[in-house]
């Protein structure tokens, strides 16, 4: 049992972090923050999850979102995918373990992983539409979002969704508003089995280590922590019974990293592109300075006249 966070005081209190704690801001720079907040993390233990969707309900409730009435797609996933309203969904996978021939029901709560190296933020062209705090939370600032969908291309986990209503991108905030008040995310609060716990990243790793040890003692030899190094680690981590094959959990990427295409687009192309344009303009300017205009001479006009008259007279 991980000790749950105490309920907050009912007295007004100051926000625990804010704009002064930004370490990254999309399409702009921020001064290095004066203090370094302890890194936070949410740990999702797939081995404890019972698939009740209390986390989904809590997420809708806390964020004051309403999902459209959907359709039964023949599986437990409801809704079938992340949406601008459903910032988290439970993904159910039926997997036959080839070693034991047992059917295993793998349930993974999907949502933003809060990457240490966020691809969405790297791809975003709108200054301040995506920010990262020194505690690791990656947040979308909707008033700055222009709805271009570049974050979707940057994300290695296929998380952001653009609303067809207001054309803004939506994803899990890690309940940054609750965390700022010393609380954990709504999903963690609602989880009846403590499959979702929240704390500092160090605490979460310790807690995960104990869970993994327990799973290994129960025969899950490959139990482990999912904290993928390809994106610098994440601030949402999973305990997986089969950490050697994350893809069996509804396609959780094996080794997620920002796509090299995105790196190329937001890296060398951005700088080489403007340089090329400037170079073409500069060469034109220099050429004109050096060679002067190419003017039609009087002789050219006389020649044209002669040609025309020779044929028309």
């Amino acid at each position: 049992m991980f000790p749950p966070l105490p309920n907050p005081s009912v007295q007004p209190s100051a926000s625990a972090f804010g704009d002064q704690d930004l370490v990254r801001r999309s399409a702009s720079s921020v001064p290095p923050p004066a203090r370094d907040l302890p890194k936070v993390a949410k740990l999702i233990d797939t081995s404890k999850c019972i698939g009740c969707k209390a986390c989904q309900v809590a997420c809708l409730e806390w964020n004051d979102l309403r999902e459209e009435v959907g359709e039964n797609r023949g599986v437990y996933d409801n809704p079938g995918d992340l949406t601008p309203a459903s910032l988290t969904v439970m993904r159910f996978s039926e997997w036959i373990n080839p070693e034991t021939d047992d059917l295993e029901w793998l349930i993974r709560k999907d949502g933003c992983m809060h990457c240490e190296d966020p691809g969405c933020l790297k791809a975003c062209p709108a200054p301040g539409a995506i920010v990262q705090y020194s505690n690791g939370i990656v947040d979308f600032v909707h008033e700055n979002c222009i709805g271009c969908g570049y974050c979707i291309k940057g994300c290695p986990f296929n998380i952001p969704r653009i609303s067809k209503v207001d054309h803004k991108a939506y994803k899990c905030t890690l309940c940054s508003d609750r965390v700022a008040m010393g609380q954990g995310p709504a999903c963690a609060k609602a989880c009846p089995t403590q499959a979702i716990v929240f704390g500092t990243k160090d605490e979460m790793k310790q807690h995960a280590a104990a869970r993994i040890e327990d799973l290994k003692s129960r025969g899950f030899a490959n139990a482990g922590l999912y904290d993928p190094p390809g994106v610098g680690g994440t601030h949402v981590m999973y305990v997986l019974h089969h950490a050697d094959q994350p893809q069996i959990y509804a396609g959780l990427p094996n080794d997620p990293k920002i796509s090299p295409v995105v790196e190329l687009w937001k890296g060398v192309t951005k700088y080489a592109g403007l340089t090329a344009i400037a170079a073409f303009a500069a060469v034109g300017f220099m050429h004109h300075l050096v060679s002067g205009p190419n003017r039609v001479s009087d002789e050219d006009e006389r020649n044209a006249k002669r040609l025309t008259e020779g044929k028309t007279s």
Binding site: G149, I162, G273, L274, R295, V296, D298, E301, A304, K311
Partner: protein
């Protein structure tokens, strides 16, 4: 008899100076709609390409509006250029003298026009601009549709969108560079801009830069 016509809007008016009609009114309107679209697309596209240029979104009423308008201007550009393509493609087919012209690019740039072969309505440089624009606009409209999330999000995968956004950016930079060549050449070669503004050039200009074309018009035959 005072004039010869070889293509629509091409006429030689003898006089002092000789005046040569080069573009019809329709062709010029078509050109300037396309030109305005390309400039607006470059500004709005660059604004979303590099953060230092993001302030340009204010010309379009902010980032969201820039994002929404850009693809529509792209449609106008595509249709506009398609019109230009239908008008000009034949005159831009590669001819034997074009290779010679390209090989003497040094003489072109040093304005030694007397060392260049006589060329028709377009020289090799203009033809390359034409074909580069044609190819790049096809690449841009196709990759642009992949990125037009509002209407076409469902039709492609995220990986395809990533490739499209890179291709779109590279093609856009290339077409801006081609556009710089196009505009600079029009400025450097004096007497060119009136062709697209008023529709006509002087006989001397045609003699100096497109002598084969002038000869065709005067003789009334296509070379």
């Amino acid at each position: 008899m005072s004039a010869h016509e070889i293509r629509p809007g091409e006429k030689v008016h003898p006089g002092d100076p000789v005046i040569v009609d080069r573009y019809t009114t329709a062709a010029r309107i078509n050109h300037w709609i396309t030109a305005a679209s390309l400039v607006l697309l470059a500004i709005s596209g660059l604004a979303l390409f590099h953060p230092v240029l993001y302030f340009l979104t204010s010309l379009f009423g902010g980032g969201s509006n820039t994002r929404a308008i850009h693809p529509w201007i792209g449609v106008v550009l595509f249709l506009g250029f398609f019109g230009l393509f239908l008008r000009f493609w034949k005159a831009n087919l590669w001819k034997r003298e074009d290779g010679t012209w390209m090989a003497r690019l040094y003489d072109v740039l040093t304005a030694h026009d007397e060392k260049l072969p006589e060329v028709g309505k377009y020289n090799a440089g203009q033809k390359m601009v034409f074909w580069m624009m044609s190819i790049l606009i096809i690449i841009l409209i196709l990759s642009g549709l992949v990125l037009w999330d509002q209407y076409f999000f469902e039709y492609t995968s995220i990986e395809q969108k990533r490739i499209a956004v890179l291709v779109h950016a590279i093609a856009a930079i290339t077409i801006i560079c081609v556009w710089i060549v196009h505009v600079y050449a029009a400025i450097w070669v004096r007497g060119t801009i009136p062709a697209m503004v008023r529709g006509h050039v002087t006989g001397g200009w045609a003699w100096r830069h497109h002598r084969k074309w002038l000869r065709e018009l005067v003789s009334g035959k296509r070379g």
